[in-house]
Subunit: 351 residues, 2 copies
C-alpha cells in the first residue's frame, strides 16, 4: 500500500482533525464545540473557536449527514400543475416566508417538483432514501397519496391547507371561513341584498370553508341563503366567466358577487361588463387573494388578503419543531397542531 495519498490534495478544505491538531485538542472535543455541546470548558472552547476561525473551517455536510443520519435539509414539495391554480404571487410569497424562517437555522431548502408521474416517483425515492429531514406540502388535494406516504415513512411533514376538518398532519391555513365572512359582511354593510358566490374547486377544503363562511355571514345578517346564488367555479378565469353567466341567467337581480379568487373575479367582471352591468354601481365585486390582478383591475378589486408569507414562515417553524422532536433525546410533544392565520379585507373601488 504505497501510492494512494494523492486523492486528498493538501490545499483543500480543513477537516475536523486539522482543527483539532491546531487547537491542541482531540477530534471529539472539536465536534462538541461545533455542535454547541455544553460539556466543554470555556478555555477549550475558546481555543477551538480560534482554530476554526484561523483555518476557516466549515463542516462537511456530507460527512455529517452520513455519520449522524440526518440531512439538515427540508423539502418543499410543489405539485406543479396545481400551482397554476394559485394566484400568481402565491408561490414566491410562500417561498419568502419559508426562506425567512430558515435563515436563522442551518437548514437548507430543497425544492421538489411533483407534477408529472415520473417526478412523483422520484419523490417517493427521495423520501424513502430519507434525503430530507422533513417535508413542507403545499396545496394538496383530498385524494393525494403523498400525505399518507409521509406518515407511513414517519417523516415529519406540515401541510398548507388541511385536506379536511380532521386533518391528521400538522397544518397551517389561512382563515378561509373568516375571510369569506369578512367579504360578505362588507358587502352587506354596503347595502347589498342579493349576494352571489362563485366558489373555488370544491375538492379543495379551503374552498368549502369559504362557502361555509359565505353562508354563515348571510344568515347572521338575517338574509336567506339562496342556493341559486351559489355557483361552483374552479379558481380559474374561465370558470369565473362560466359561473357568472349562469348566475346572471338564474338571478339577473343580483347586486353583488363574492368570488373565491381574484382570477375568478376577473372572469366574472368580463361577463358583467358584457352584460352592461357597471361595477360597483350595479354589481359590487369582491375577490380573494389580493393579487396583482386585484390592484390593476378596472376598477381595482376589493379582495381578501391571505398572509401567505406568514403561512410559509409558520409552516417552516412547525416543521423544524417536529424535526427537532424526532431527534434522539427530546420528549415528544405529539400534540396535533392546526394553525389558522387571520385574513384581511382590502377595500378598493369594486365594492
Amino acid at each position: 500500500m504505497a501510492s494512494h495519498g494523492v486523492r486528498g490534495r493538501s490545499g483543500g478544505r480543513p477537516t475536523l482533525e486539522e482543527v483539532a491538531a491546531r487547537a491542541g485538542v482531540g477530534r471529539g472535543t472539536v465536534s462538541r464545540v461545533i455542535n454547541g455541546s455544553p460539556r466543554v470548558s470555556e478555555a477549550t472552547r475558546a481555543a477551538v473557536e480560534a482554530a476554526v476561525a484561523e483555518l476557516g473551517y466549515v463542516p462537511n455536510t456530507a460527512a455529517r449527514a452520513l455519520a449522524a443520519n440526518r440531512t439538515d435539509a427540508i423539502a418543499l414539495v410543489v405539485p406543479e400543475p396545481e400551482t397554476r391554480f394559485f394566484t400568481e404571487p402565491y408561490f414566491s410569497d410562500m417561498l419568502r416566508g419559508v426562506g425567512a424562517a430558515l435563515s436563522d437555522t442551518e437548514m437548507q431548502l430543497l425544492l421538489i417538483f411533483a407534477g408529472s408521474d415520473r417526478e412523483r416517483q422520484r419523490l417517493a425515492q427521495y423520501l424513502a432514501a430519507h434525503r430530507v429531514d422533513g417535508v413542507l406540502l403545499v396545496s394538496v388535494h383530498a385524494d393525494d397519496p403523498l400525505p399518507d406516504m409521509l406518515s407511513q415513512l414517519e417523516i415529519p411533514a406540515v401541510i398548507s391547507g388541511p385536506r379536511s376538518a380532521d386533518e391528521t398532519l400538522t397544518s397551517v391555513d389561512s382563515d378561509n371561513y373568516g375571510g369569506a365572512r369578512q367579504a360578505v359582511e362588507h358587502l352587506v354593510s354596503r347595502g347589498r341584498r342579493t349576494i352571489a358566490h362563485i366558489t373555488g374547486r370544491l375538492d379543495v377544503y379551503g374552498a368549502q370553508r369559504r362557502v361555509d363562511g359565505y353562508r354563515e355571514a348571510l344568515r347572521e345578517a338575517g338574509h336567506q341563503v339562496d342556493e341559486l346564488l351559489i355557483e361552483p367555479g374552479d379558481f380559474s378565469e374561465g370558470g369565473g366567466r362560466r359561473a357568472m353567466e349562469a348566475l346572471l341567467e338564474r338571478r339577473p337581480d343580483l347586486d353583488a358577487v363574492f368570488a373565491a379568487s381574484d382570477v375568478t373575479a376577473a372572469g366574472a367582471r368580463q361577463v358583467l361588463r358584457e352584460a352592461g352591468r357597471r361595477i360597483p354601481d350595479d354589481v359590487a365585486l369582491v375577490g380573494y387573494d389580493d393579487s396583482a390582478i386585484a390592484r390593476h383591475m378596472e376598477p381595482p378589486l376589493t379582495s381578501v388578503r391571505q398572509p401567505i408569507e406568514e403561512m410559509g414562515r409558520a409552516m417552516t417553524d412547525l416543521l423544524l419543531r417536529e424535526v427537532a422532536d424526532r431527534r434522539p433525546s427530546a420528549t415528544r410533544e405529539l400534540e396535533r397542531r392546526q394553525m389558522v392565520l387571520a385574513t384581511e379585507l382590502v377595500e378598493r373601488a369594486s365594492s
Copy 2:
C-alpha cells in the same frame, strides 16, 4: 416498550453491501452497475439489477457525496430584494423551467436566499463548503461580488442576464435588444411618430440593451432619436409614474410610450389617464414581460414576452454540462457560452 425496538439497523434501508451479497457479487460491481459503468457483463448487470429491485435499494446520497466529493445538487441563488423588481410570475416561471430541466437527472435543486447580509454570509459558507456542484444566479447587479467569488472558488455557475457585454460567466438572456426593437417597430408600423421610452434600472445590463434596441429601431425607421423622449425608470410602478410625468411635461406631443416593464407601463397609464390621454387613441402603450398585469390592464397591454421558462431550462442545461465537464475524465470544453433567446411581441388593445 415491547414493540418499540426498531434500532434502525436490521429493519433499515439496504446498503450496497447487502445488494452485493444478494446478487452474489462484490461491492465494486454493484457500484458499477448503479453508476452505469459499461465495464460490467450483461449477466452480472441483470443479476445486480434484480437484487436492487428485490431489496428496494436506494443509494445513500450522503455516503456517495462524501466518497465521491460531489453533491448531485445545484443551487438557485435568489437575491430576494431584487426579485421584487421582477414581474410577478418571473420567479415561478423560471423555477418551472429549472425543474423541467432537472427532472431528467438525479440532480437536486437547492434554493438559497441571499437577500440579507446574514444570508449572504451563509451563502459564502455553503459555497466554500462546496455544498453544491453548481450555481444558478438570477438577476445579478453589476457590482455584485457573488459572480467573482464563484469564479474564484471554481464553482460552475450560470447567470441569467449577463452583467455586461463581456460577461465572463456562462450566461443566458432573452434578447432585450431585439425585444425593444420589436416593440418600437410595432409602434412605428402603427403610424406612431413620437415614441417615448421609459427605461428600466440602467445598472441592469438588460435595461441598457432595451434602450439600445429602442434607439436602433427608431434610426432604422428613419426617425431622429430625441434624447428628451428617453426617461429613466426603475422597473417599478412609481418609477413609471414619475417618468411619465416628466415626459408629458417635456414632450406633450408624444403619441406612444414603450415602457421597460409592464409594471412601469401601469404607472405610466395612470398618469396618462389623469392627463386625459386616451389609450391607444391618443397615446399607444407597450410594456415588457407580458405579465398578468398586461392581460388584465384596461385596455389590455401590448407587451414583449420573454421566454422565461425556457431561460430557466437553458440555464440549467448549460450548468449541468459545465458540472459534467468538471468531473474527472471529460475533455473540458471551456468555450464561453452566451445564450440569447428570442422574445415575442404580444399585441393587445393598448397599441
